[in-house]
């Protein structure tokens, strides 16, 4: 077994991340405006408000997006909101259900009365537009095949007019589609929890108000958990993330120093 420089880099990263996690220290987190807005939005909705949580991500982004999604759903349940879960990407279907089921059982929320899961619908643009006309026609039955009109929570919920907002849990451009077809056409308020890699893409939409609020990646989750005064995956990962970033910065610095020194020697 021959170890090269890159292997030592990975070993170093592993030591930094695992060491930071085992320390169990939770550093203070500064709350960003976007996360604060998301918290105030969910917090200020009247009890019984209907929210749509759309699980628009693939399984590969689950480790990053799950803490934020869980914090949001827990907060919504604690405030007595009624939640409709949907998935516009096939892989998000089972993930979304398991997450909602876990949060609901923690807070004693009852399926059919406090929350429902309508499952996956293909052709996301058509689904977003169709829900603006009729959610029942888009999802005639829930994830388990129960007819829409048999679910007491959905009584009186016809389309977006009866919904306070949509929260897209995404790792790509799905929130843009929600903005383009949901917010722009039907006026429904769109918020999102997304992977950190997508945050810069959505900054213009936050600035223009087309996207009401967003939580970005693990850091956003840690901020939200801080506001909720609960522990969670976001806070647990913060020290590891900060340590990993410092480690990468040191590597970049060392790489540049080595480059300039070796160039000077060569010259």
């Amino acid at each position: 077994m021959k170890l090269e420089a890159r292997h030592w880099t990975f070993v170093g990263l592993l030591i930094v991340v695992v060491g930071a996690m085992l320390l169990g220290v939770r550093p203070d987190v500064t709350i960003s405006d976007e996360t604060q807005r998301m918290f105030e939005y969910i917090d200020s909705l009247p009890e019984g408000s209907v929210l749509i949580y759309s699980f628009d991500h693939e399984s590969s982004s689950l480790p990053e997006i799950r803490p934020a999604a869980l914090a949001l759903v827990r907060h919504s349940f604690s405030k007595g909101h009624r939640i409709i879960g949907v998935a516009l990407l096939a892989e998000g279907t089972g993930i979304g259900y398991r997450l909602m089921e876990m949060a609901a059982s923690e807070s004693g929320r009852q399926y059919g009365r406090d929350w429902v899961y309508l499952g996956f619908k293909p052709q996301y643009i058509a689904a977003i537009l169709s829900m603006g006309e009729s959610i029942e026609k888009t999802f005639p039955q829930d994830y388990f095949g129960t007819p829409y009109d048999s679910l007491s929570m959905l009584s009186g919920v016809v389309n977006y007019q009866q919904v306070a907002g949509v929260v897209s849990i995404g790792d790509g451009n799905m929130a843009v589609h929600w903005i383009e077809y949901g917010q722009s056409r039907f006026g429904i308020r769109i918020s999102s929890a997304m992977t950190a890699a997508m945050v810069t893409t959505y900054d213009p939409y936050i600035s223009s108000g087309q996207l009401h609020a967003l939580i970005g990646g693990l850091r956003g989750a840690a901020e939200y958990e801080t506001l909720l005064k609960i522990g969670g995956g976001g806070q647990r990962g913060m020290l590891a993330q900060a340590s990993a970033h410092i480690y990468i910065l040191l590597l970049i610095l060392a790489g540049n120093v080595i480059y300039f020194v070796s160039r000077r020697r060569r010259d």
Partner: protein
């Protein structure tokens, strides 16, 4: 520890072995991931599309669905050279309806609202132009000038294009920084799973 946690843990470790080098254990986990993902998506698509939206309503007497069914089958005409021109008809329907829905939807939110917000931050507020609004407007114009190729980038246009490249670099840097953060988060998420759920070192 249940069996699903053990399988997930072993597969996570199998994927991480790629950090040493490509190897059969990694290949096995990779192929398994691809196969399971495709299989899962196929089953979901079959039940929620073909069964729920087509076969069951057809069996219930909704015969208008024969039209999209026929259009869908015409796509496969491409496999028979003699009938392949037939496949253009459903493609034309798809592209036409898709473009019809997308163009107005994109024009408003992506261009008009964004332009309005960019200019509005400078001239549209009673409190006067904001510093960040001016920076964004300069960045927008400079970046657009970089992508204007009908004249050589010399003189004022050259200066503007050069400033545009700096704004682009800042954007790429910020995006790359966020991407690194994102990838670290994924690794931290799996590390947490291994340490807590699989090994029980953390609560």
């Amino acid at each position: 520890m249940d069996i699903s946690t053990l399988i997930a843990g072993l597969l996570t470790i199998a994927i991480l072995t790629f950090l040493y080098r490509d190897n059969p254990i990694y290949k096995f986990a990779e192929y398994l991931l691809v196969g399971v993902s495709i299989g899962y998506a196929l089953v979901i698509a079959w039940t929620s599309t073909m069964m729920d939206l087509l076969f069951e309503p057809l069996a219930g007497g909704k015969f208008s669905l024969i039209v999209p069914l026929t259009l869908g089958l015409m796509i496969f005409a491409r496999m028979v050279p003699r009938f392949s021109p037939l496949s253009r008809i459903p493609l034309a329907v798809l592209i036409g309806s898709g473009a019809g829905a997308a163009i107005p939807a994109m024009l408003g939110p992506r261009i008009l609202t964004q332009m309005s917000d960019t200019v509005g931050n400078v001239v549209g507020t009673g409190a006067g132009p904001s510093f960040s609004g001016i920076v964004v407007l300069i960045g927008l114009l400079a970046t657009l000038s970089y992508f204007y190729f009908s004249r050589p980038h010399q003189g004022a246009l050259g200066l503007s294009a050069k400033i545009g490249t700096y704004f682009l670099m800042v954007f790429f840097g910020a995006t790359f920084g966020y991407t690194v953060m994102s990838r670290m988060s994924v690794f931290i998420g799996r590390a947490e799973f291994l340490l807590s759920d699989l090994l029980g070192f953390m609560k």
